[in-house]
């Protein structure tokens, strides 16, 4: 591909450039961080917003889909924080929690942290300049060349840095809540890190929370990075409820995870009710004998667009990777799944399996599927599979002959399809929450879309 393609900047790209010039003097961090931001912005502006000719973004043409960039958010004021506090109280939000409002860490709303877990805001870490943390935060080699990750580094405003001391074992989930607080539509750039020490075991549950003072949901453009480091023998169970943003929102989430030896990492995400979402997961097995399972369910309707892009690098021996993603696509929704398993030379005994299953409920819905295997070791077991189609008509007919109206028969089959992965979360409370979301989505789909046939 020619590197010389010069394009006119889009309005979104121009406003991002202005945002960087106007705010770089105020963005947190010491001189080294400021330099890193400058370099990162150069990387971003060299390629601009990714578009369909950038292979990794072929199916999510951000340049076309995001014509304008929203103004960068300011830290939430006292009123916004107070409104969120009331909101959480009313919603019975979990106690053991960390809150990011428009990407800014809000200590007043956070708390209940168990011993062995240390949390600081990204802004303070960047200003302190502790070299090991800065090195971790800025090591983007896993996502090298991704212009949106570079843009995140240039504009990151805040986030949380969570350090779990070696050997710490916490059963109850640590909740990380991404709240939309602003009264006006805005862009958020956050970067967080989770460092799980050797032998430690924790559960991180990420939630979206999108209701502001007026009770309405503003469209937002969020670009969030989460950097995960799992020490030897560490365990991390991660869930993300990526739901409930306003229709025109854009949400980019990038996880960059490094897995030590003998570690175990499970991650599950539910994506639903978002305008455009792209989740990127870059994972590297760096120590032998580890396991990772990445999974997710996307429930999409309207013109929603959800992209899951994975890159799983086996750079150590005897690691097991399982990537399983399911999509239910209704109306004019678009699903994208891109998964790459890369097995480095010498990563023998790698066991990698990737699977994507999509159910299309409408002729206007579309699924784009791109699995890739890059294998440079000879003693490995790797594979991928994909299915895409409508619900099984024999199954629907059987259920209907037993008296279930078509919408109920469909809901039963779809719930079974989506629930398979939810069972794997392994935490009763979270399973309950995720199953509830799936049920709610299925019943809302039927209440307003499929005519009642009981009069038939």
């Amino acid at each position: 591909m020619s590197a010389e393609i010069i394009h006119a900047r889009t309005p979104a790209e121009l406003s991002l450039a202005n945002a960087f010039d106007g705010s770089k003097a105020r963005l947190p961090g010491n001189a080294a961080v400021a330099k890193w931001r400058e370099d990162s912005f150069k990387i971003f502006s060299a390629s601009g917003l990714p578009h369909r000719r950038v292979e990794a973004w072929h199916y999510t043409d951000l340049r076309a889909l995001m014509r304008d960039a929203l103004p960068v958010a300011t830290p939430p004021d006292a009123m916004a924080i107070d409104a969120l506090r009331k909101n959480f109280a009313a919603a019975d939000a979990p106690g053991q929690r960390l809150v990011l409002a428009d990407g800014f860490f809000v200590p007043e709303l956070s708390g209940g942290l168990p011993a062995g877990i240390k949390v600081r805001s990204l802004a303070s870490v960047l200003s302190e300049g502790r070299s090991d943390l800065i090195a971790l935060l800025s090591s983007q080699d896993l996502a090298a060349g991704d212009s949106m990750v570079a843009l995140n580094a240039a504009l990151m405003q805040d986030g949380v840095v969570i350090e779990v001391a070696p050997g710490t074992v916490v059963e109850k989930p640590l909740n990380l809540i991404h709240a939309t607080a602003s009264q006006i539509s805005s862009a958020h750039f956050s970067r967080s890190a989770l460092i799980v020490g050797a032998g430690a075991s924790i559960r991180l549950a990420e939630w979206g929370h999108a209701a502001n003072r007026a009770g309405t949901v503003q469209a937002s453009q969020a670009n969030a990075c989460l950097i995960v480091s799992l020490g030897d023998g560490a365990r991390l169970a991660h869930t993300a409820m990526v739901t409930g943003t306003a229709a025109n929102s854009v949400r980019l989430e990038t996880m960059m995870a490094r897995i030590g030896a003998g570690a175990k990492f499970d991650s599950f995400a539910l994506v639903s009710g978002i305008g455009l979402v792209r989740r990127q997961i870059f994972l590297r097995f760096e120590g032998d004998g580890s396991q990772a399972s990445l999974s997710g369910v996307s429930l999409l309707g309207g013109r929603e667009h959800a992209d899951t892009t994975l890159q799983v690098e086996h750079a150590a021996q005897g690691c097991m990777g399982r990537e399983t993603f399911k999509y239910i696509l209704d109306e004019e929704a678009t699903g994208v799944f891109q998964g790459k398993i890369h097995v480095a030379p010498g990563a023998q005994k790698t066991d990698g399996k990737m699977l994507c299953k999509a159910v299309l409920l409408s002729d206007m819905a579309a699924m784009n599927n791109k699995p890739e295997l890059e294998i440079f070791a000879d003693d490995v077991a790797c594979g991928h599979g994909a299915t895409c189609g409508g619900l099984d008509i024999d199954q629907l007919f059987y259920l209907q002959t037993r008296g279930l109206p078509l919408p109920e028969a469909e809901a039963l089959l779809l719930e079974a399809f989506a629930s398979e992965l939810i069972g794997g979360i392994g935490h009763a409370g979270l399973i309950h929450d995720f199953s509830g979301k799936v049920k709610a989505w299925l019943s809302s789909r039927h209440s307003w879309r499929i005519p009642d046939r009981s009069q038939a």
Partner: protein
């Protein structure tokens, strides 16, 4: 009462049912026999409301009401039940969850109240016990990994719970061991009632020894070619279908 009148059915221009007439009265058990591919399952699917078939002419009436424009679930609510020749596996849906959803959907359509969970469990346990269906099977996903005979018994359990006014059993006996055949036959006989009709599709006299039919119909090439009493089944067992299999003479 089920009435099939002058039914012509095709798929992609190929005729599968040809001027078919069949009546089964309330309280009657009618056996339907006939060579492989003669259209028995097609008939059962068309009666149950499968959409892949084109009904060209004719009508199907249940208790005097035409079924043709009704969805399969509405037909079920009106009292129709089909035990499938090949019951379908439904991964991820626990059998109990399904049974409860089916039973309550039909009750809702019939204007009855939903069953409470204890009431429902009591009914399931009673019927399952009679059919030797274990609690473990009820907790598993519907029909998934069930043996052929277990699937057939599960269909009969559904029939017992749904209490249809007309039931079609499509080769429910095939794949059953001798004990299971007797258990299933007892299940069917227990449901025999003056207001309930059965169409029992089978290849073998053996089932008809247990579920003694009032009438026997022979189907070949998409039409009923002979009807008689229970002795007709005995005759077929002896002579086979050679008398009926020939292509119809070209006029």
């Amino acid at each position: 009462m089920l009435e099939v009148n002058n039914l012509n059915v095709s798929v992609n221009g190929r005729k599968l049912l040809d001027d078919l007439d069949l009546t089964v009265r309330d309280g009657e058990v009618a056996a339907l026999m006939g060579p492989n591919g003669s259209g028995k399952s097609t008939l059962s699917h068309v009666i149950a409301g499968r959409k892949d078939y084109t009904v060209e002419t004719g009508d199907i009436l249940l208790n005097g009401e035409s079924l043709l424009n009704l969805e399969p679930d509405v037909r079920a609510a009106k009292g129709l039940f089909l035990a499938f020749q090949y019951p379908i596996e439904i991964p991820g849906v626990a059998t109990l969850t399904f049974l409860k959803a089916a039973l309550n959907a039909q009750r809702k359509r019939r204007g009855q109240e939903e069953l409470s969970t204890p009431d429902f469990m009591k009914r399931v346990k009673t019927s399952a016990g009679k059919l030797k269906i274990s609690q473990d099977m009820l907790r598993r996903a519907l029909n998934v990994g069930f043996s052929g005979g277990e699937k057939k018994r599960m269909d009969i359990l559904q029939m017992a719970l749904l209490e249809p006014s007309f039931a079609i059993l499509d080769e429910t006996d095939s794949g059953l061991d001798i004990d299971a055949l007797r258990i299933v036959a007892e299940g069917v006989n227990a449901l025999r009632a003056p207001g309930r009709g059965f169409l029992v599709i089978t290849h073998y006299q053996r089932l008809l020894d247990y579920v003694v039919p009032d009438t026997v119909h022979v189907m070949a090439q998409g039409r009923i070619v002979r009807s008689g009493g229970k002795e007709l089944a005995v005759e077929l067992e002896k002579n086979g279908y050679s008398d009926y299999n020939a292509e119809p003479a070209v006029a």
